[in-house]
Symmetry: C2
Subunit: 365 residues, 2 copies
Amino acid sequence: MADGRSTDGRVADVEPVRRAATLKDVARLAGVDASTVSRVLRADPSQGVRDATRERILDAARVLNYRANAVAQSLRTRRTDTFAVIVPTLDNPGFVEVIRGIQAEAAAAGKLVLLVEADVIASGDLSLARREELFARLVLDGRADALIAAFATLEDRLVARLSDRGVPLVLVNRRQPGIPGSVAVDDAHAAQLAVRHLLDLGHTRIGFVGFGDRTDTARRREQGYRDAMASAQLAVDARWTVSRDPSRQGGLEATAEILSAAPPDAVPTAIFCVSLLSAIGALAALREHGVAVPRQMSVVAFNDHEIANDTAPPLTTVRLPNLEMGREAMRMAMRAADGLSVAQTIVEGPIELVPRASTAAPASG
Amino acid sequence: MADGRSTDGRVADVEPVRRAATLKDVARLAGVDASTVSRVLRADPSQGVRDATRERILDAARVLNYRANAVAQSLRTRRTDTFAVIVPTLDNPGFVEVIRGIQAEAAAAGKLVLLVEADVIASGDLSLARREELFARLVLDGRADALIAAFATLEDRLVARLSDRGVPLVLVNRRQPGIPGSVAVDDAHAAQLAVRHLLDLGHTRIGFVGFGDRTDTARRREQGYRDAMASAQLAVDARWTVSRDPSRQGGLEATAEILSAAPPDAVPTAIFCVSLLSAIGALAALREHGVAVPRQMSVVAFNDHEIANDTAPPLTTVRLPNLEMGREAMRMAMRAADGLSVAQTIVEGPIELVPRASTAAPASG
DNA sequence: ACGTTGAGTACGACGGCGGTT
DNA sequence: GAACCGCCGTCGTACTCAACG
């Protein structure tokens, strides 16, 4: 019992848990008004305060270990200095890099990040309305100053509704008509880079493992693939192009489908996978089917990561400026929160092929 | 120009952006007092409200699209329903699983998660004081109800100071004297499982790639290794035990050191790596040095992940209940936020060896 | 009339208390 | 005399305005 910090007194343990000091407490101790304390502590430049007064206040604040209550500040200023970020999953290394860029920029600006991993939330049978409700809580209820929606998880309708309700919103690697703020890379160009690498090696039958056409990211990547094929005057066999989740499992299934669907002489000699994880799944499928990589089949992945060095064989990839995309998204979100206008942006920063051991010239014959 | 929210003048754009409706607005529309609205909207059971009144209020709220302002609520109730989570890095798949568990539990309870990735913050030369300041902002300023510190990033001193300042705190996979709340797994047992697998295969010279002794997690894992060796009456050569960052790079360096430090006849025939990433680095080092896995060297990793199927060769691992650890951490954090007592907990849930291709009997001779 | 400072109120919701029916 | 419901103070800070010297 008489454990500790009870401010004395015989017993009468008034104040069991010492309340944090407030502006008023500091004011009382310094012998000034709370508003003066506020001015000093915020270093409000528009207001002069006598040095002696300032000193007294600073001392008092130090003595009381004063910390401004962020919630009260937010209520008053209508800013939380917090930004909500929605990603589909943290399993995908690409998202992790984006988040890292977001956090770096946030930390530099003294902002905090509220993270929501959509696939965790979505497990369970949440209806659209219910999910919208969840996301709405983030910004509409005043918990965050803006929302960064990374990638393609959210339905267009949901995004549009949030935007309509006045939520400052930045889309990452995704665009949508009517939504002004977005940060993306040149997906089509990146995809072309990958496919051209295969073309340069001499491949003519190149398969495609995508993730559908519901998002413009996916569409742009597929378009890049098709354009590269077209400009090499090569046909695209529908049996070579399959869409699945951008996960290991998805890539595995898609690749198995490609292998089984086409007659042996029409099987592609290379596959372009539109996500790193699906490429890893493709390698697994090829292994299961006894197809040697790269001798019998080359594989290129979209999105680089350290782990690409450690797969069997190491994966040739296209590296994207994910970190920079995250940084730019955060900067844009801060502007959006300030009511400034935002635009659809393509991130500069290098997009480059990282050649490793999963690609080679096709077996002759 | 006449674009929007210019505060100015002539045009007299009263209410350029429509303000969100407040309790008072709803009250006015429904013809009741704000407090009654509050009661109805919170479905306060201790207070009766006539059905007709309730209906009117509900209608009014619907019409105005009313949403309670979370900041104002927090100020009044002193709860933010937000929990801060600190992880060292999202690169480590183990942390990701923990976070997923945290988020799942949080979502189920209607809580939000503020995520801080410490290595992002720490880049740059932040002093201890400055980092503490950053973490303090999370809870001390009232932005979060409790803090979940996942794993071993934070210095003991920092943790102790936060705890002393009254921050409800839960440590994940880490304990510290004086800090009541923690969630961990039986690391020593898990490590023994790994080492015993190697012993069972016939290995007697087993190396250890750890990550130092600054955290009790690391110490417990090393202890498990040493205990397993001791109970098999095997010696541990100091040249076989190396500590580095639990990253790919760290594992790579540590393994290279083990390979070069010992005379050829004293090199271990197996290595136990205390993190998944360092095991992946170990594989890379062994590849560089031309050591065949598992023929010449077996490797076991601590912490399982899907990617262990895709390394060359696939990694034998010990799977831990990371998800459950995250869930329990979140539940404990909620209790801590309520001022309830918390304890040092060992998570139930299976710890099991996942045998893959990176382990085999040592080469005879 | 100038630099300093205090008083007062708004931010939006909660909740105790007391007054009506 | 319960059942309903309104009044008002409170949470902690920011900021306008006026008053002080």
